[in-house]
């Protein structure tokens, strides 16, 4: 991981008797796209609000840019946020909304900065319609522009594709990738892992307030790749046979007895035959096929991966 600019340690938020976030621990490196995945009500928004300085943790610590955050610390302003809905006045147009934010930041040369941002998010600069007449996608894009007004180092997007049509989703995705390419660190939450998998470089799965898994993109894709899982008497005896007799190179040994084979050209009966003929007892063999969505559902206890 690159230099960590956000570090969350044992972060907890409790509302009366309900624990919304429970001892969350993770680090986010500079320039990453950090995907936070969880079902509705898993605690994603609460966690993001704490990182953004909108909510106070019950316990735990947040480090931003290697500094521990205290109340109203200036480092929070280096984070642009779009949490839940875009915070916009419905009876003002896009320019007027952004202009108000720009005034609060004390920006000079507001007009050119705002026009640049409107162009970046693909909104018509000359559009004088009030925000209340905007589509969901336009509001989300304007929300991103609002989050970018202060030229933040980190952008937090909470469910930015909610309620968007496929074209809107694709536009938001393109925009996120462009911003990331320009060096911005992005934290994005969603309950749709398939969508996150197209952009995120790091993932955390949040379930009932707890971060239950934290993976890099490569690790996650590996978890979901088609594979054959074999359980044998001793994995170290099986590996040379798989390599030499079946020409299998793409595999992973899990513990003493389990081997995952990722080579798709091998038939299961050939594996069994080869191992048995060489004196290695096979306890079980399964073909494992799992989409990212199934993987997520299996981890959050809402369903499982398919084995056939």
């Amino acid at each position: 991981m690159s230099e960590a600019i956000i570090e969350v340690s044992q972060l907890t938020k409790q509302f009366k008797s309900k624990i919304a976030v429970n001892k969350a621990d993770f680090k986010i490196g500079k320039g990453e796209i950090f995907g936070l995945i969880g079902q509705n009500g898993a605690g994603k928004s609460t966690l993001l609000k704490m990182i953004a300085g909108l909510m106070y943790p019950t316990s735990g610590e947040i480090k931003l840019f290697n500094r521990t955050m205290k109340d109203s610390h200036p480092y929070f302003e280096r984070i642009g946020i779009l949490i839940e809905n875009a915070g916009l006045f419905p009876h003002y147009n896009a320019y007027e909304n952004l202009d108000l934010i720009a005034i609060s930041y004390g920006l000079t040369n507001r007009k050119s900065h705002i026009n640049k941002l409107l162009k970046l998010v693909g909104l018509d600069v000359s559009n004088k319609s009030k925000v209340k007449n905007y589509s969901m996608g336009m509001k989300q894009r304007l929300g991103i522009a609002a989050a970018l007004i202060g030229s933040p180092d980190v952008l937090i997007l909470d469910e930015p594709i909610n309620g968007l049509d496929p074209q809107g989703i694709s536009e938001i995705r393109r925009m996120i990738l462009e911003l990331n390419k320009a060096g911005m660190t992005i934290i994005i939450s969603s309950h749709i892992l398939e969508e996150l998998s197209k952009i995120a470089t790091q993932y955390a799965i949040l379930h009932q307030g707890e971060v239950i898994e934290h993976h890099s993109r490569e690790q996650l894709l590996l978890q979901c790749e088609d594979r054959i899982e074999i359980e044998v008497e001793k994995a170290s005896w099986a590996v040379p046979i798989l390599e030499q007799n079946l020409n299998i190179n793409h595999y992973k040994v899990i513990g003493e007895h389990v081997v995952y084979i990722y080579d798709s050209h091998i038939e299961t009966q050939h594996i069994i035959k080869s191992l048995v003929e060489n004196g290695v007892m096979v306890h079980s063999i399964t073909k494992h096929k799992q989409s990212l969505e199934q993987y997520f559902l299996a981890r959050t206890g809402s369903g499982g991966g398919s084995h056939d």
Binding site: G53, M55, F76, G87, L88, F89, I103, S104, Y105
Partner: protein, 254 residues
């Protein structure tokens, strides 16, 4: 602080609702003066006829009537100005800046003060026009007395706007804030406490209530009355500003 105030001020001056409120207040103030003329009878202020009153006496008569329409307008504005930003979540765009929570409340306190000032200007202009039109008499009276009355009442009304702002911040509910604002403008709480005091006897705390102080005619030449007004205004102004700021600093924002 100055940038957040500039933002709020920009919103204040570009919002049609504010001009509409001021225009409505102006129209009803003129209409009220017309009605006073139509049904004028002695007894309003120590048996004086309204047509013989100077501006200071006239203001005291108008302000002694409940509900105080000026308080109702101020309550509506204070709730509207805060809740319109809170309910759409606009604060999320700037609240993470250093000390922005405190500055945001202080800025809104200044804006409600500005609106209160506008109300007083409108009231004064409407009084002058209305009294000239319907009473053929718009005497100001003692300028010093009038100035003390206007300044004293301005601070009391501003303190009232801060009380309502504080209620909006804590309740987070537009309806609840408006209802409480209207009840306070009717001086319901003041009347209830006064009634309770008359039962208990030997207690006179109700005269120190904000709305009771606003609606009770005072002698602004009298130092005790001036001290009373200044004391009540300052205590309410500072106390509710402090509560509002403290609450906002500690608040978990959604």
């Amino acid at each position: 602080m100055i940038n957040i105030f500039k933002m709020d001020f920009h919103r204040f001056k570009t919002n049609k609702m504010i001009y509409l409120l001021l225009l409505l207040f102006f129209a009803f103030q003129i209409f009220g003066i017309y009605m006073l003329k139509k049904y004028e009878e002695p007894g309003g202020n120590g048996g004086m006829l309204i047509s013989t009153m100077n501006e200071s006496q006239f203001i005291q008569v108008i302000m002694a009537q409940t509900p105080s329409w000026m308080l109702v307008y101020i309550a509506v504005f204070s709730v509207y100005f805060y809740m319109s930003e809170y309910s759409c979540g606009f604060y999320k765009n700037y609240i993470a800046m250093k000390n922005a929570r405190m500055y945001s409340v202080l800025s809104k306190i200044l804006i409600t003060g500005l609106f209160t000032l506008c109300m007083f200007i409108v009231m004064f202009v409407a009084d002058m026009i209305g009294r000239s039109l319907f009473f053929d008499h718009a005497a100001l009276g003692d300028g010093g007395y009038l100035a003390k009355l206007l300044i004293g009442q301005f601070f009391l009304h501003w303190a009232f706007s801060i009380v309502i702002l504080c209620i909006s911040i804590i309740s987070k509910s537009l309806i609840a804030s408006i209802v409480v604002g209207f009840l306070l403008s009717l001086n319901v709480f003041g009347m209830v406490i006064s009634a309770f005091e008359s039962l208990v006897g030997q207690v006179n705390l109700s005269s120190f209530l904000l709305v009771n102080t606003i609606v009770s005619p005072r002698d602004f030449h009298h130092i005790n009355d001036l001290m009373h007004i200044a004391g009540v205004a300052i205590v309410f102004l500072l106390l509710f500003s402090f509560i509002a700021v403290r609450y906002k600093i500690k608040e978990d924002l959604g």
